[in-house]
């Protein structure tokens, strides 16, 4: 062990690997449980440091390191993770294995899920041990069930959903993994957790969760979920944001009044400690603010979008907020902001100069170092969205059309994708020519636009080509959505999606009726 660590410190990884595995073998042969676990953990650390995830995962599992197994499995994907699973593993290894399934199990086949289900359900049924002391195996099993929930076989599906709900409501941490599983399973029709989804997003900031966009859709479509969100919005700030993105203040004056109040206080710098307001949320809430407040927020968001000294993420959020607010501005304010954005378009075209954030100027003492890539293509894409929304509100359709037509020929894929989305109702812009774009995001938006225009033939070759298992998941999800919204129109497409590697795609595809 000592020789292995010395080799590691000297940068001789190959020797460290040999020495440490030898040390592990010696401990194993001598019956040293403690020693073998110590060395296994060190071996995991070594492989992790070398980013050799294929080797790191088995050692993470052997030493029972759940979070380390999750990290390694995330890097590896399902095929390599499945190879590291052993049904008769010792008890302390099982939690790590289940965490690995939770991280990478979305691509498990139906047969693999069936084989795993019994073990996961048995482990998940342990409700005595909680995560308050440390990371627990039973919780990991419930998280793994969440990941594969869409395709747990029928007799066990309800039990699995109950366990995932239990974990969501009992974990002391934000239930990122389980709420994502519930959102996807609810959307696929496997279970109905809309009210719980509203509750979780009502209590926990979406920065700690996953699937906010789909959650908003589900909450909008469910009466109980809407009621829960509105009820929580009175005293829970995340619930107010959820309501805002679901446009619920339009129907609930009390929620609209609270949104307006938050915006007014944000302009006065008097927000409460728990009212953490991102720029996109600020623009959204301002939809229900007074016109003067809307104007002030619009200018603040424009300032942020225009400024290259802001990090890319902030500029992106500002543009999203501006696009969201634009729909409710007065024509005059929209025109004023449009002028502002047009005059400073050169600055919007300048990438952010700041790409890192640090909690201390001296790197040695900086507890937090955050990379904030300029992601300039994304910033420009949402800036186009904001520009189009402002132009529409300002009744300047020609400027809107010209911007979209120009965007569709842009060199950045993200901008082309946004332009394709905006071009859906502009029938004079030919989108067919972009259906074979190199960028999958552009292809996805073009397909959605063509579907909106009802310009897709049954089992359109464009759809089928983009449903292949090796196509990016975002693209497969898009064609899945098109197939779902046009049941019966694309039977071959649905058939192909039923064999998709991803559990969610398979589950939704199986729920789409096709002509017999």
């Amino acid at each position: 062990m000592t020789q292995g660590l010395r080799a590691w410190l000297s940068g001789r990884g190959w020797e460290a690997r040999g020495r440490l595995i030898s040390a592990w073998a010696v401990h194993r042969r001598a019956g040293h449980l403690a020693g073998s676990l110590r060395v296994a953990e060190t071996l995991h650390d070594l492989f992790k440091a070398g980013e050799e995830w294929q080797d790191a995962l088995p050692w993470a599992i052997r030493s029972g390191l759940q979070l380390a197994a999750e990290a390694a499995a995330t890097e590896l994907g399902w095929a390599a993770t499945a190879a590291a699973l052993r049904p008769h593993a010792p008890p302390w290894e099982r939690g790590a294995m289940w965490e690995a399934i939770a991280a990478a199990g979305t691509d498990a086949s139906d047969a693999e899920i069936t084989a795993l289900s019994d073990g996961l359900l048995d482990a998940a049924a342990d409700h005595e041990t909680t995560e308050h002391a440390t990371v627990q195996a039973a919780s990991a099993a419930r998280r793994a069930l969440a990941t594969v929930l869409c395709r747990v076989p029928h007799p066990d599906a309800a039990r699995a959903a109950d366990e995932v709900v239990f974990e969501t409501t009992h974990t002391p941490f934000p239930p990122r993994r389980t709420i994502q599983g519930l959102i996807l399973a609810t959307y696929a029709g496997v279970c109905d957790a809309c009210e719980l989804i509203a509750e979780v997003f009502g209590f926990t900031d979406r920065a700690h969760l996953a699937g906010f966009g789909l959650a908003v859709e589900l909450v909008s479509d469910s009466a109980v979920a809407r009621a829960k969100a509105v009820e929580l919005a009175e005293y829970q700030f995340p619930a107010l944001l959820l309501c805002a993105w679901a446009d619920l203040p339009d129907l609930h004056p009390a929620v609209a009044a609270r949104a307006a109040d938050v915006v007014a206080r944000s302009l006065d710098g008097e927000l409460a400690g728990d009212e953490i307001l991102r720029a996109d949320d600020r623009g959204r809430l301002a939809r229900w603010a007074e016109p003067d407040a809307q104007r002030a927020v619009g200018h603040a968001l424009s300032d942020e979008l225009i400024s290259p000294s802001e990090i890319g993420a902030h500029r992106n959020e500002a543009a999203v907020g501006l696009a969201s607010l634009a729909e409710r501005l007065t024509t005059e304010t929209a025109g004023e902001l449009l002028e502002r954005v047009t005059v400073d378009q050169q600055l919007i075209g300048t990438p952010s100069t700041q790409e890192t954030m640090s909690s201390h100027p001296n790197p040695l003492f900086a507890r937090v170092n955050m990379r904030a890539p300029a992601a300039h293509d994304q910033v420009r894409a949402v800036a186009l969205r904001a520009f189009a929304a402002l132009a529409e509100r300002a009744c300047r359709p020609d400027e809107r059309r010209n911007a979209v037509a120009s965007g569709i020929r842009d060199e950045d894929g993200a901008v082309r994708a946004e332009a394709a989305r905006l071009a859906a109702p502009m029938l004079d812009i030919d989108l067919r020519a972009h259906a074979a774009d190199d960028n999958p995001l552009v292809r996805a938006q073009v397909l959605i636009a063509l579907a909106t225009r009802e310009d897709l033939a049954p089992d359109d070759p464009g759809l089928l080509a983009n449903s292949a298992p090796d196509a990016p998941l975002a693209l497969r999800s898009t064609v899945l959505r098109i197939a779902r919204e046009n049941p019966g129109a694309h039977p071959r497409l649905v058939q192909a999606l039923r064999a998709d590697p991803h559990v969610y795609v398979r589950a939704v595809a199986h729920g789409i009726e096709t002509p017999s």
Binding site: R17, S22, A25, R29, A34, L37
Partner: protein, 262 residues
Amino acid sequence: MPRVANAMLLQAARLAADDEDRVRAGQLYLRASRSAAVRRDDIAEYAAFRASWLLPEEERWRSLAAMARASWPERPEESVPVLRAAFERVLQTEAADDVLEWALAMCDALAAQDDWGDIAEITERASALLGPVSAVDERLELELERLTASSEVGDDVEAGWRALLLAPVGRTAEGAPLIRARWAMALAREGKGTLAAEQFASAAERWRSTGDAEDELAEAVLSEDVVAQALGAGRRLDQAGRIAVAELRGRGSTPVRLPTVW
């Protein structure tokens, strides 16, 4: 002093080579490699490589297998097939020492890949050829591997462990705690916390009475503590206890007592 003995073996091998006695030199290098491989000494691969220059064609597989044994922690995917071929070859010859040597080499490499099914198969076939365990030696080690692997694949081998403890070798000063520690580890891996804790405690007690086995004693006590933490059975050390036990493990090398080829 295995390192000194190995140095002398290497020197003898060099002299034999200088004397044009290539076969003798090759055999000495192989002995040095085997001895060094037990402790994962640097010279294991070097000595095996030198042997490959000296051995006659029909014996050269031994040096290749010895190189694989020395290098499996670094290159398992290349080494395991070579070791497997060596094992199959010696099984045909029924040479007991060779079978023991290559079966154990396989066990080490396969255990690192969690390939317990293959270990069970190899140790069964080797044990059938080698007969009963009679001393604290490599044959005992093979038997411990056989029982461990059977336990890992879900077989009930409690009777086998008990029989080993009741045999003369299970009542020797070094055999008794080693067998109990291995059994305890197998029990813990099966999830049988109470039994595992008992056997670790028993192993610790026996290491204590042998003297000059502080490292083994410390490992047994710490392992019992791990069982308490992971499986909720047995005694759990408090912080002071852990520090005290860690202090027992004072030496920087040779932390274990294992049967050696010397």
